[in-house]
């Protein structure tokens, strides 16, 4: 009797053990939570997180709870420093490669873990005469998509003012006095990068002269870069400076009437992505990167007003699809690799810590603090 019971027990025990080890083998390959810290606005990160959750369910059979901490690039960057390797987020997404390079030096990033083919499909750089890196040779970050920081305007208001906008120079038209909305370069990296484009086009002194004239036409310095397209779409201000194309497109999708201009040499961001070292859910983080660069992820992105980062893919969809609307909105371009992309932004100059601080300090002292006098 005893013996039999023992045997039954051991059989049962083995069965349980076996099932357990089997389930271990198929154990969820990723964690069931994912936190993003990102300057990429809700218009894009929200659909991406939702689609990722569905993708992860299909691929790993895990229900991933996703959430995003929306912060401007400089703020997100500072927050990550402040976390000191104990981050409350898994993935940092968006901004410029230079800040990611700095974080990598601080030892706060993990190396990207991507299938080799996926990594290799992304070109090392884009743009002439200055090449702009699309991925980190040391593998601490990878670009996810392409989009220019350009100009947004409200066509009705602009018509009323009798102004046309095609180039950067058109922003200095005195008729636009008080009509321009922009964010400050110390709060917004799109603004910072666009300031650098102007500074590297004209040189430091002439560049600031130009930017001071821009400030003279500026009616508001918004709290965040995403406010710029918001206030233009609403008609509060006629023109917005340094706006990522997808934010402008998001306003169109929301039912507002706005137009976008991609001026010459405008900064093109690869929206870098990286898993934070010490992240609470690193596997989910790496899976998210893989999802973003998968064809499914790239296709989804291309319907949100940004461009694929791989030359193989083009923005294309059935008639009336968001993809086609996006192409029409940004002037008929289907891929960043079709034409020559102008770039003067040199990240070796702009990325240096001291340079970043110099630009911000100059802006603060000479433009922000004197804005009321400049407008006069």
């Amino acid at each position: 009797m005893m013996k039999r019971a023992l045997m039954m027990f051991s059989v049962a025990a083995f069965a349980v053990l076996g099932a357990w080890s089997l389930s271990l083998a198929q154990a969820p390959a990723i964690e069931n939570e994912l936190y993003l810290i990102t300057p990429v606005s809700k218009d894009v990160h929200d659909p991406m997180l939702k689609a990722f959750a569905a993708w992860a369910k299909k691929k790993y059979n895990v229900d991933v709870k996703t959430s995003a901490i929306p912060k401007g690039t400089p703020v997100a960057y500072g927050q990550i420093l402040e976390w000191k390797g104990r981050p409350q987020a898994d993935v940092f997404w968006g901004g410029e490669g230079t800040l990611f390079d700095n974080l990598a030096i601080e030892g706060l990033l993990e190396q990207v873990q991507l299938p080799k083919a996926m990594w290799d499909a992304i070109p090392a750089s884009i743009g002439t005469p200055v090449p702009l890196p699309l991925k980190d040779p040391k593998k601490f970050w990878v670009g996810t998509t392409l989009e220019p920081y350009g100009i947004i305007y409200q066509p009705t208001l602009l018509k009323r003012l009798g102004v046309e906008i095609k180039t950067w120079e058109d922003l200095l038209n005195p008729k636009l006095k008080g009509q321009i909305a922009q964010c400050t370069p110390d709060r917004s990296s799109s603004s910072h990068a666009s300031y650098e484009v102007i500074l590297q086009t004209y040189g430091w002194d002439k560049g600031w002269e130009w930017l001071t004239k821009l400030a003279a036409n500026t009616g508001i310095f918004t709290a965040r870069s995403r406010d710029v397209p918001s206030v233009v779409a609403k008609g509060e201000f006629a023109v917005g400076f340094a706006v990522p194309s997808y934010m402008a497109f998001a306003e169109v999708l929301a039912g507002y009437d706005v137009k976008f201009v991609y001026p010459k040499n405008a900064y093109v961001t690869p929206e870098p992505m990286s898993v934070l070292k010490g992240a609470p859910h690193p596997k989910a983080g790496h899976a998210f990167i893989e999802f973003c660069l998968s064809e499914e992820g790239q296709l989804l992105l291309s319907g949100l007003g940004v461009y694929p980062i791989t030359p193989g893919l083009k923005v294309k969809g059935p008639e009336g699809s968001n993809q086609e609307k996006a192409v029409a909105f940004t002037g008929g371009m289907r891929s960043f690799f079709e034409t020559e992309i102008g770039n003067v932004y040199d990240d070796k100059i702009a990325g240096e810590k001291k340079r970043i601080e110099d630009v911000n300090a100059y802006f603060r002292k000479e433009i922000a603090e004197k804005h009321k006098e400049i407008v006069k």
């Binding site: 809700k42 500072g78 609403k234």
Partner: protein, 572 residues
């Protein structure tokens, strides 16, 4: 918290004036422990941070940097001026309201009394958004002026300091009205009669009786309005005003790239806290949770006025209230309107924004209610015994507790948020996680910030229940337990409830401290509003704002039913 919760019962069994049980003393110690850990320590940490270098050495350089920087000084000046300006405008409107509502009889008086408190229900950011929708450059009013009346350019109501003043005034005048109504309600009619019997009438009577007796209420109302304006960073940011102290503190602290600026954010917060303490000391003579005890609110006899005067009063109140309700209209329109731009009203309407914020992601509403609920429990557990200690005992240190409670009212939210950020960032022992990484930090900071309202509500009720009631019950042989159950409790529960409801409404609306402390994945409505707004989803922000306003209005309605308009004292 369990020891705190057990405390009041234990204490109330003790002798009212002196003898305290051990359990009671433990409860008292627990209150102190709560205040030390969650109020004093973070503030000290903030001061420590602002007086040291990153390496931890003592320095005054940070303050020197502040006081030699032209821009910061200008911001300080602007903030002080804005605060004083708002006190003046809210005084004019608030006092007029209080006098009209209390002293005169006119049609719709009851309704006006209720409506005049409503503008207080305005979550941060939502008010200014609503105003911009109606009064902005492309707001309803300007569009009407340009499209139908041939104006060439929009009138700039909003973008600039005038916009901030407008928003703060129409939001905060009810605080002033409540404080004055409360103070005037406590003037016994017998005093009035006495004055009149010796020939003091009109202005003379006002100067001799009304003015000195309403001063404490007025001063505390003014202090609250001042601090509120002084600490608000959301409103100025929307209308493009950066040169204010609160905006600078916020902008500097949320940008971490430049360590010097980050430090300056901390220093500015410390300066704001120091200034708040300073204002409090100046006003100390008038502001404390104690007030001039009277057995009950007096019934003020209202004067009858002629029909012309009646019409004038109704028009005046009506116009101010319409102005104060502008943001509600703006928010309601934008939360239903799709693609609303450059037309007086939205052309297309939709329910999709409510679907998104209430059904697709219900977490905002759930978290808000949960955290505000927990914070009210904290308020009750700490606040009711605290008020009781102050009203009924002579325990050493109770004066200090009183001062601390009042200090909380004066503390700018940004300051306390940053203080928590700095003080609780190291991982806790056994948890391997910092306190600011756990969601419980939110209800705790809300509980601390909204504690004074519960304390005041309870205290005011305990004052109205004059000790003589309890003594009378005891003199005829009732035990202390019976006295508490049969006399005190039935008389104070309303006060506790009303104080707690105020704590609840204001916890729901809090954003300045919690915005800095919110834990990813645990966002509440106010944080949602902020995130939607800065994420470009203005309509969703408006929809969430509208839901929050409706919740607040419901609570206010309950308060109104429970207490009438007599509970202004929680603010005074």
């Amino acid at each position: 918290m369990t020891t705190d919760a057990a405390a009041p019962a234990a204490k109330k069994r003790g002798k009212p004036a002196g003898g305290i049980h051990v359990g009671g003393l433990l409860g008292y110690a627990a209150i102190w422990a709560f205040m030390i850990v969650f109020l004093i320590y973070p503030l000290l940490h903030l001061f420590y941070d602002s007086f040291t270098t990153d390496a931890g050495d003592f320095t005054l350089a940070n303050f020197q940097d502040f006081f030699t920087d032209r821009y910061y000084l200008k911001s300080l000046m602007n903030s002080l001026l804005l605060g004083v300006g708002t006190v003046i405008t809210t005084s004019i409107i608030g006092i007029t309201f209080a006098f009209l509502l209390l002293r005169y009889e006119f049609p719709g008086r009851g309704l006006f009394t209720y409506l005049s408190i409503v503008p207080m229900i305005m979550p941060p950011l939502v008010g200014v958004m609503g105003f911009v929708f109606i009064l902005g450059r492309a707001g309803t009013v300007n569009i009407l002026l340009m499209d139908y009346l041939g104006f060439e350019k929009p009138i700039n109501f909003m973008y600039g300091i005038q916009g901030v003043l407008l928003v703060e005034t129409l939001h905060l005048f009810p605080l002033m009205t409540l404080s004055i109504v409360d103070a005037m309600g406590k003037i016994s009619p017998s005093l009035d009669e006495a004055a009149e019997s010796v020939g003091s009438r009109g202005l003379r009577k006002f100067w001799d009786i009304t003015f000195p007796l309403t001063t404490p209420g007025y001063v505390s109302g003014a202090l609250l309005v001042f601090i509120w304006t002084f600490a608000d960073f959301a409103t100025p940011l929307v209308v493009g005003v950066d040169d204010l102290l609160a905006s600078q503190a916020y902008l500097n602290i949320v940008q971490f790239v430049d360590r010097r600026l980050f430090k300056m954010g901390i220093v500015i917060s410390a300066i704001m806290v120091i200034l708040a303490i300073l204002f409090l000391i100046i006003a100390k003579k008038y502001v404390a949770i104690k007030d001039y005890s009277s057995l009950s609110y007096s019934v003020i006899e209202r004067k009858q006025i002629g029909p012309a005067a009646k019409a004038g009063v109704v028009v005046f109140l009506g116009v101010i209230l319409i102005l104060a309700f502008i943001p509600y209209l703006g928010i309601a329109l934008d939360s239903f309107g799709k693609g609303w731009a450059l037309t007086p009203f939205p052309v297309k309407y939709t329910f999709q924004y409510f679907e998104r914020v209430a059904f697709e992601t219900p977490k905002f509403i759930i978290n808000s209610l949960l955290y505000a609920g927990i914070s009210v429990l904290i308020c009750i557990a700490v606040g009711v015994p605290l008020a009781w200690v102050n009203a009924r005992t002579k325990l050493p240190g109770r004066e200090a507790l009183d001062s601390l409670t009042t200090l909380i009212l004066a503390l700018p939210g940004t300051g306390i948020g940053i203080a928590y950020m700095r003080a609780f960032r190291e991982p806790l022992p056994y948890f391997d996680m910092a306190f600011i990484g756990m969601w419980i930090v939110i209800p705790v900071v809300l509980g601390v910030r909204r504690l004074p309202y519960t304390v005041r509500g309870t205290f005011a009720s305990l004052q109205i229940v004059h000790k003589s009631f309890e003594e009378a019950a005891e003199s005829v042989g009732a035990t202390q337990m019976t006295t508490f159950k049969d006399v005190t409790l039935p008389l104070i529960w309303k006060g506790v409830l009303v104080g707690s409801l105020y704590s609840f409404i204001l916890a729901l609306q809090e954003a300045s401290a919690t915005l800095l402390l919110v834990v990813p994945g645990h966002e509440m409505m106010t944080v949602g509003i902020f995130n939607f707004y800065i994420g470009g989803s203005v309509n969703e922000a408006a929809a969430l704002g509208l839901i929050l306003i409706i919740l607040g209005a419901l609570c206010l309605f309950v308060i109104n039913r429970v207490a009438g308009s007599k509970m202004g004292g929680v603010f005074g």
